[in-house]
């Protein structure tokens, strides 16, 4: 389950001018790369697992 704010506090701080764009984007980019990395590696890992299982069942 996942639950959270549609517009997070940090994004609101940027749109309200309370947070510099450079800081906002540096943090956002770091978070996005970390999440993307976990997501892509998870997908690749699952794909490799599925391929191995397929090989096992086809014998």
């Amino acid at each position: 389950m996942m639950r959270g704010q549609v517009v997070p506090e940090e994004a609101r701080a940027w749109t309200a001018g309370l947070l510099l764009a450079t800081d906002y984007f540096a943090n956002a980019r770091r978070d996005a790369v970390a999440k993307a990395s976990a997501a892509i590696r998870g997908r690749l890992h699952r794909a490799r697992g599925a391929t191995t299982e397929d090989r096992g069942t086809s014998r």
């Binding site: 994004a11 749109t15 764009a21 996005a32 993307a36 690749l44």
Partner: protein, 256 residues
């Protein structure tokens, strides 16, 4: 910057080579060291015959691993950009666009619109791939376009685009807005550009994207991003620019 975990493949390749080498040495020495020049030549030829397929195999495996890692990095960068554009930029900016139209007071609305222009140029300069990119929103007022918001490298932009017959660049920029067009130029020095699209003398950029900002039939200005290096922008950047220009247009348009 995407980092990848350290590979163990090199270690495995070295272990495999060591084990095969040791096995070959034991096999050769089991019957005693070669006694003649011919026997030594035979032993060396055998070693080469064992080493060549091992070397070819390890090179192929290392190359395959490098290719897999490159593909993984590209996939991560693409996914990260999508997350940034949709989650960290479009979502909060759409909220500001909504607030612009909810606000009753004219002063407050204009303040929010000023904020929106600044947010859009900050987002564009940060999202587009150019090193040291600069984004500018040229607002159209009374037939002229002047910089209303900018972000990124360099000095504040001073260009004013007018409809004056002597201002060919101005006329072309106004036509781009009038036709609701975009223009992506990979290299202003290498490409043959339409008249009026060439940069002013001494301009510090090599590539740029300009997009008309409009909503319905209201023309509102032009959003531009430029970079000092050629080929700084691609199709994805163009699509980011188009989306941001439309969001900006939705926030700046007047109620009829």
């Amino acid at each position: 910057m995407v980092t990848t975990p350290r590979s163990r493949l090199r270690t495995y390749v070295l272990l495999e080579a060591g084990a095969v080498g040791l096995g070959y040495l034991v096999a050769v020495l089991r019957e005693g060291a070669p006694g003649s020049g011919g026997a030594w030549a035979l032993a060396v030829a055998g070693a080469v015959a064992v080493a060549v397929p091992l070397w070819v195999k390890s090179r192929r495996e290392l190359r395959q691993e490098a290719e897999t890692r490159s593909a993984e990095i590209v996939a991560i960068e693409t996914d990260a950009k999508l997350r940034l554009v949709v989650g960290d930029v479009v979502t909060p900016i759409a909220e500001v666009v909504g607030k612009v139209h909810q606000t009753a007071g004219k002063g407050e609305r204009e303040s929010l619109r000023g904020q929106l222009k600044q947010l859009v140029v900050e987002a564009v300069a940060s999202l587009c791939d150019g090193e040291r990119a600069r984004a500018v929103f040229f607002q159209l007022e009374r037939g002229e376009m002047r910089a209303a918001a900018w972000f990124g490298r360099g000095d504040p932009p001073t260009t004013v685009f007018t409809d004056d017959p002597a201002d060919r660049r101005g006329q072309e920029a106004l036509l781009l807005v009038g036709f609701h067009d975009y223009l992506l130029v990979d290299d202003v020095r290498a490409e043959e550009l339409p008249r009026g699209a060439e940069p002013r003398p001494g301009a510090g950029y090599r590539s740029f994207i300009s997009v008309a900002v409009f909503c319905g039939d209201q023309n509102l200005g032009m959003l531009s991003v430029d970079a000092p290096e050629p080929h700084a922008f691609d199709d994805t950047d163009l699509n980011v620019m188009r989306a941001m220009a439309q969001l900006l247009g939705a926030g700046l348009v007047d109620r009829r």
